[in-house]
Symmetry: D2
Subunit: 345 residues, 4 copies
């Protein structure tokens, strides 16, 4: 028997990816896809790649209508729009995986500093941060999961083994991240026009990108003490993918073998993390899949370690991880519907 | 009970795609992947996207070894190399889907004119041309299927309804095709270096590209009389995808509605052909899928019709169609293992 | 002594290209750059590539102010906006090169059919169509030059020698064109976002793209009789460049040598047209330059000829050709300021 | 009166760029272009973008022939091949700008460690490191200039003001660089095929890329003490451009205004360095030009500074800087032939 799910905000890149992945999910049925902009139009007309996979029309319903059909909501709305509807969805008895930033930060004051006032701060304690490899057991029991941001996913998975090991200087972490353009969303903006992005590359949001406090929250939890990082995102002329290059000072010197062992031990048994050791991963090897591939190199010349982690920002960095969370919340196999290999090249 | 298959020439782009698709196929088990270049190395080391999906090593075995393990061979070898091994594979009792050009042309003289001497012309009669939507019943019974070329697939599917209808002037067909660069293969050549292809676009093989006789063979069969076409391929700065724009003179005038009806009627019930009518398809809507999407526009100003067909050259134009053929030859459902939607964007 | 020029609509891709090219022009001084959107901001702040090349601010002035400073106006405004200001610019004694579509069509009725009502039809007779290689002498004497569209430039230059020769069937011309995305302009639209264009390719405006009547007007003039064509534009995932593949039926058969000779003869002495014969040109060989490179292949199998012409849509297809026109109108050397080679790769 | 120059190794991307730039140089005449691979073929046939700009044929001459025609040699040969010919060129009385790595490192032992044995170590002392903004006066008097590597140029110019100021902790420099694919050269390799680079992004050469000692040599000179850095290069799916993101710990805290002032002061009067302050530069704003644009941001949260510098790797990172050096060695204006703005978009 399938679970009925609603996808709110289904016409952005993440929303479309949720539709694509869930239309192939054996235990879930999409019963509703919402979009203010396209309400009334068939999904397969607006997104012809989905013809034959989703025969719904976009609608723009109220919470009551949504809850009448569906048991679970995946909200791929902009921040602020998400928290405007999620308390009511929960109130109507639904489970929610929220892909916005609204419930990711534990501390209301931090949310206010980096975003705006929070309209349902009482839910911040309840919301579980949906980074599965770190918080799996809490997610199983959650009613509301805050799906992690794309950059924070690549960074937290990349650093977790090192921070847990206690072997790096947590005051000297440098995170240099690069993201494909789908991360910037599907709204019409000059900055993400083809000719502005193509054949170029640039940093943005320096030094205060909004993913910084989310990254620091997880790293602090991992390290057991407050961590501040430099996080510099850049815009890549590719559609999908994030690669984070992370620099850490090793407290004692460590050789390549020991370093790799720390990573392999930490992720032993994980379905969606592949440790590649000194063969550093490239973005294309995960595009279209839910994997996070992580490489690591110790540099004895400088006493530092360089970590490279790659994800598909729309899958492990958004829709795929949301489905991982959904699976756990529904008691399904964690990898259900997420078994695809990367489409390469 | 799964069928055992061998993939010969598994380290090219088509070979890797066969490994990816078949590793998710529920009725088939890959038991051997060959590569002269990489013999002895693990598939997942050379192609890290496949880690966790294929735990074989590349080998460079003789026919006897191949036939000892496998019932079916998919040969993704260069032309000439394919016909050097296929008679022996058949002789050893295997079924073969050949992805090279060696058994596509019925007429030995035509093969000789466009390629070279044929070393097993006696098989040309037996080989079935594996364009499933046209030759499905013959394929079911075949021992040797010649998997169509990528361009010919997009062209033949695009023109079949019109040619069958008898409503176009078969002496005036113009085919302007554009292909992604994976169609040029994975061997190291200056012409397909990133900087030579990126930010450029060019025609090549004009006026005698080797896919011309294959295209004409199928179109002549459809038309019931000899057809000669102008076929101009171009190289697109994308990894995957073919778009063919086809121009035909309508013998009587025809309106848009009737034109679309001819296409919808012809492809009614087909799983992998989607008729999009006047909403002409783009490449991205099929990338990663086995679909051929076809649009058609009647131009009353000029009395012509413009057909646009798109495929993923590595799937419907190669590995996917080969698996469609394999499924038919093995009595499986035709779409088995081929159900993925396009990965967009 | 330099001529003073104003660039109206200087913040689109064509406008910026005019600023770049004219800032290096030895006989011209840019005295004004207008932009409603960016009025008050320094050009070099909005477009940092121009830092050190243009120290003006964008303004949004009236015609009086413009005419007080400048003798010549280059109008890179949208159609409709152009004809709203050009009569006044002329009335104020300025010469004008208009890069919009407003004065390209000779026949007011045709303009109305494909665009809208014309507000200054009395100027249509006076305006000279600025395809330099065909109308050079008229341009020298013009007060108002209608700079050709990008597609029409590539098509008319590609076909002129053949049509003038009388050797092709003008009822059977097929034009399959492909353009880089800068041709779609710099306004924020979902259709030209990076992720919508990247890794894709599609036809658009079929069968009635607005450049069709402009193309037919020139071809009819060349042929000396009405010509109707099929013109199919496509969107390429590159920033710059147009490649047009043109198919024509040769009335008598013609060999490759004679065909090339027709082209070489026709363009002998032309600075900006390079005939490449059977070595068909690619887009990258003209990117960043004012060249139109043209290749031609006779196909004895089908009795057709295939012409391939390439331009940089922002230079020979817009700003560069406008400067060619400006040079002629001012009595300067035609190639003044236009001598750059393509930037390759 | 023009100077006669020879370009050795003129068929790689850097060599072709030298031909393009020097063909427009008012004081220099290219008299010889060498290429083993293309000897005997016209430059304009192999590189059609140069038709009309260079009417020479490639040759493969001996040193005597070269020296008979030319006063200056620009050597764009692979390392090792360069030092095999340069002593003889000097011996024949020529001046040389060497674009290889062979004479960049002062210390023979370092060269041996990172490359191989040096065959003319006696020239290492004489060779001047051609980073013009730092070593201008020495270059004017040099007979042999070692043109800097592309990455080292972007890094040294990015860090010079800070290191000279003494305000950063030189033991904690992190350099995260990203380069377009033309930096990998024009030889046929699977790794730089279009489909391997497109839609991907990866680090390489970690932690021992050969540009590391060159970077450290210059930074140590600037700092007045030995500097060791982490330098991580990445491969971007663009043809041209390098962006280096550099992280440094500020010894005392510094505000944004003071930081920018350090940069503006240091580069005051420099033609080819543009300081952009907190508006961090993107690659496209320098593509096709000889500029190095540098932005800088102070992060009071972490006490670090983030520097972003961009160059066109083929121009300021290779051919353009070589011409800057050539101009100085010949007593010409430093910017002669290098005045082009970036071609954007």
């Amino acid at each position: 028997m399938a679970y009925n799910v609603a996808i709110l905000g289904a016409s952005g890149y993440t929303g479309v990816e949720l539709v694509r992945l869930l239309s192939a999910h054996p235990e879930v049925r999409i019963v509703r896809v919402t979009s203010r902009q396209y309400a009334g139009r068939p999904v397969a007309e607006v997104f012809p790649s989905l013809k034959g996979f989703c025969d719904l029309d976009f609608t723009d319903p109220g919470v009551g209508e949504i809850a009448a059909d569906a048991q679970v909501a995946l909200t791929a709305l902009p921040h602020r729009a998400a928290m405007a509807v999620i308390p009511d969805l929960l109130g109507a008895g639904m489970k929610v995986v929220d892909l916005s930033a609204d419930y990711r930060l534990r501390d209301e004051a931090v949310y206010r500093e980096w975003y705006q006032d929070h309209t349902s701060p009482e839910l911040l304690d309840e919301a579980v941060y949906g980074l599965v490899e770190l918080f799996r057991e809490d997610i199983r029991k959650a009613r509301l999961v805050a799906n992690p941001g794309c950059y924070p996913t690549s960074v937290a998975l990349g650093l977790a083994p090192l921070l847990k090991s206690g072997l790096v200087d947590v005051d000297r972490l440098i995170i240099d991240s690069k993201s494909g353009t789908s991360g910037a969303g599907r709204s019409a903006k000059v900055d993400t026009l083809f000719c502005e992005v193509n054949e170029s590359f640039r940093a943005y949001g320096v030094p205060r990108h909004r993913h910084t406090p989310e990254i620091e929250q997880t790293l602090s939890w991992l390290a057991g003490r407050p961590v501040r990082v430099n996080f510099t995102p850049h815009l890549l002329p590719v559609s999908r993918g994030i690669l984070s290059t992370i620099y850490a000072d090793l407290v004692p010197d460590m050789d390549q073998g020991s370093l790799e062992e720390i990573y392999r031990d930490f992720y032993r048994g994980e379905t969606f993390v592949r440790v590649t050791g000194a063969q550093l991963p490239g973005i294309a090897q995960v595009t279209g899949s839910n994997f996070c591939d992580i490489g690591c190199v110790a540099d004895p010349r400088t006493g530092r370690v360089i970590i490279v982690s790659v994800i598909d920002n729309l899958i492990k960095g958004a829709a795929g991880q949301a489905i991982q969370n959904l699976n756990l919340m529904l008691g399904l196999d964690e990898d259900c519907g997420l078994g695809a290999a990367a489409v390469w090249p």
